[in-house]
């Protein structure tokens, strides 16, 4: 069940100058959630920010009653959210959206770019629990933007591409040799910039395997009421906040 709950700022872990992990704590218990779910945060005292902001749930701790988020600063809201002080209150609506499916998967490739890696921690854990062989493929502009790899290494193999060649293979994520070497994955999960996800979906189509993409459309309500966040699917417009954010790319009407 969706809920609205007041959390308190509990801490940051800054990963680089523009990316941080935000942890929020509540006195009540944290609701159960699934990999792929997201939350809508109301950013306190944020001048110029009117609506809530959606973020994937990076991690949840049911003992400590915390939720954490992996946030990349891209504008006024994400900047302000990086300036919380102890005791600041953040209202959170969660868990929202559907989640990744894991049924039947044996060998999964998780392809993420930028803040798109956020849902992969919970997804990686779930896949591992289900005995799935997990490989993370992370694309970034440069070394400094390749984050969370330590966490991912606990769950599977981690491959990296950087555009400037400072880490892993040089180039775009879709140029990684994982896609050309003997390719034995039976499922791709992807989250990140649209062009990246489209390229990944194209590869999945070529290989004839399933691909699930987590979309980041602009949202107003986040709970299915406003119909602002739709994406075109073969069954008509669907709400990314409700029927998504995770879609099987076969369903999406992407010009790929």
């Amino acid at each position: 069940m969706k809920q609205i709950q007041d959390f308190k700022f509990s801490g940051y872990k800054w990963l680089n100058y523009s990316t941080y992990i935000l942890t929020l704590k509540t006195d009540e218990s944290v609701a159960g959630l699934e990999p792929g779910n997201f939350a809508e945060l109301q950013i306190p005292d944020a001048p110029g920010v009117f609506l809530r902001r959606p973020f994937s749930i990076l991690d949840v701790d049911h003992k400590k009653n915390t939720l954490s988020f992996y946030i990349k600063i891209v504008g006024k809201g994400t900047r302000q959210l990086g300036k919380l002080k102890l005791g600041d209150k953040v209202s959170v609506i969660y868990p929202l959206g559907n989640s990744f499916t894991v049924n039947g998967t044996q060998k999964a490739l998780l392809v993420g770019g930028g803040s798109g890696v956020a849902p992969f921690l919970l997804l990686g854990r779930k896949l591992k629990k289900h005995g799935v062989d997990v490989t993370f493929l992370i694309g970034a502009r440069t070394k400094e933007d390749v984050l969370l790899t330590e966490e991912f290494e606990k769950l599977g193999k981690v491959l990296v591409t950087t555009e400037d060649g400072t880490m892993g293979q040089t180039g775009l994520v879709t140029q990684h040799s994982a896609f050309t070497d003997d390719f034995t994955f039976d499922k791709i999960y992807t989250c990140g910039p649209d062009p990246m996800m489209k390229a990944v979906a194209r590869i999945a189509k070529e290989k004839g395997i399933d691909c699930e993409a987590s979309l980041e459309n602009m949202m107003a309500c986040g709970i299915g009421a406003c119909l602002c966040c739709v994406t075109e699917t073969i069954h008509g417009n669907k709400r990314v906040c409700t029927e998504g954010p995770v879609f099987n790319t076969k369903e999406l009407v992407w010009l790929i």
Binding site: I4, F50, M218, C221, I223, C226, L227, E232
Partner: protein, 304 residues
């Protein structure tokens, strides 16, 4: 005990607080957050005769104290509503009011005739002010003769309470209000969104797929309030006020300006429980000010 009842046409609403069409889905979307039975009314998402896909994405943009939307009346059509959605929501102990749309007068009539047959639907809101569709919508609401024509046509096929939703994108909203009153509307609701626009300077493209969209939220409140005040003084039927109401103070302002009831739109997105808070705030205000019937607030703006 403050008496919160208000009357709109043949309806008696248990309190003046309703939710604005298009911002509250079919109510169900908010059921996890609140007891829907507490609402005075739920104005559900705009309906058309046939299934509509609405406009392409992107459909929204945030603005200073507001937002633009260009949803464009995406809905599965009135038949689907009546056979699939209505049965799921009709049990709620609140007035559920469909929002009726059309590209032509015939379409308005078609949708209305079908709703007229549904037991439990006691009122419709005739939307002649949607700025996000190419044909019909706002075009009807910005010209007095066409607003009157569509109201008259719908009035002829609808036996229950008829609320006409007005567009703020006009020179003189009182003229349109008077016109639809003359054609038999039982109430008017105002305002719908303001035609507006956003541009992304990096790409030099409009933010919305449709270039323009409708502005809602607190940004428009001072204009909406003025219009409610003007219309209240121009007509005799009740006015349902909306436009940027975020809290009880805003709601009271609209009632003092002349609203019999109010609708909460964009505020639901920020706080899905805002309607309950507004109800509580209305009660507190009435208690503090020794008002025993909330309907006594309507139009009670004093002279400066």
């Amino acid at each position: 005990m403050v008496d919160l009842n208000v009357h709109i046409g043949d309806l008696q609403l248990k309190n003046p607080v309703g939710t604005a069409s298009g911002t509250f889905g079919f109510g169900e979307e908010y059921a996890d957050f609140m007891d829907l039975n507490k609402l005075g009314a739920i104005y559900v998402k705009g309906l058309t005769a046939k299934h509509r896909e609405g406009n392409p994405y992107p459909r929204m943009a945030e603005t200073s104290s507001g937002m633009l939307n260009a949803v464009g009346l995406q809905n599965k059509g009135v038949d689907y509503f009546i056979s699939n959605i209505w049965p799921r929501i009709k049990h709620y102990d609140t007035e559920i009011i469909p929002n009726v749309n059309g590209s032509t007068v015939e379409e308005y009539i078609e949708v209305t005739e079908k709703l007229n047959e549904v037991e439990g639907i006691n009122a419709i809101e005739l939307n002649i002010s949607c700025p996000n569709v190419k044909e019909g919508g706002m075009a009807f609401g910005v010209s007095c003769p066409s607003a009157m024509a569509v109201t008259e046509a719908v009035r002829n096929v609808f036996d229950k309470t008829l609320i006409v939703k007005l567009s703020p994108n006009v020179t003189d909203i009182t003229e349109i209000a008077k016109g639809v009153e003359d054609m038999g509307a039982d109430a008017v609701s105002l305002v719908n969104t303001f035609l507006a626009m956003a541009i992304d300077v990096k790409t030099r493209r409009p933010v919305l797929s449709t270039v323009t969209g409708g502005l809602s939220g607190p940004a428009i409140k001072p204009i909406a309030l003025r219009m409610v005040w003007q219309v209240y003084h121009a007509i005799k039927i009740p006015v349902i006020g909306m436009g940027g109401i975020m809290n009880a103070t805003d709601a009271i302002e609209f009632m003092l300006a002349g609203a019999t009831a109010i609708q909460i739109g964009t505020a639901n997105f920020i706080d899905p429980q805002v309607t309950l808070k507004i109800m509580d705030g209305l009660v507190s205000y009435c208690e503090e000010q020794n008002i025993s019937k909330i309907s006594d607030l309507t139009g009670q703006l004093r002279n400066i």
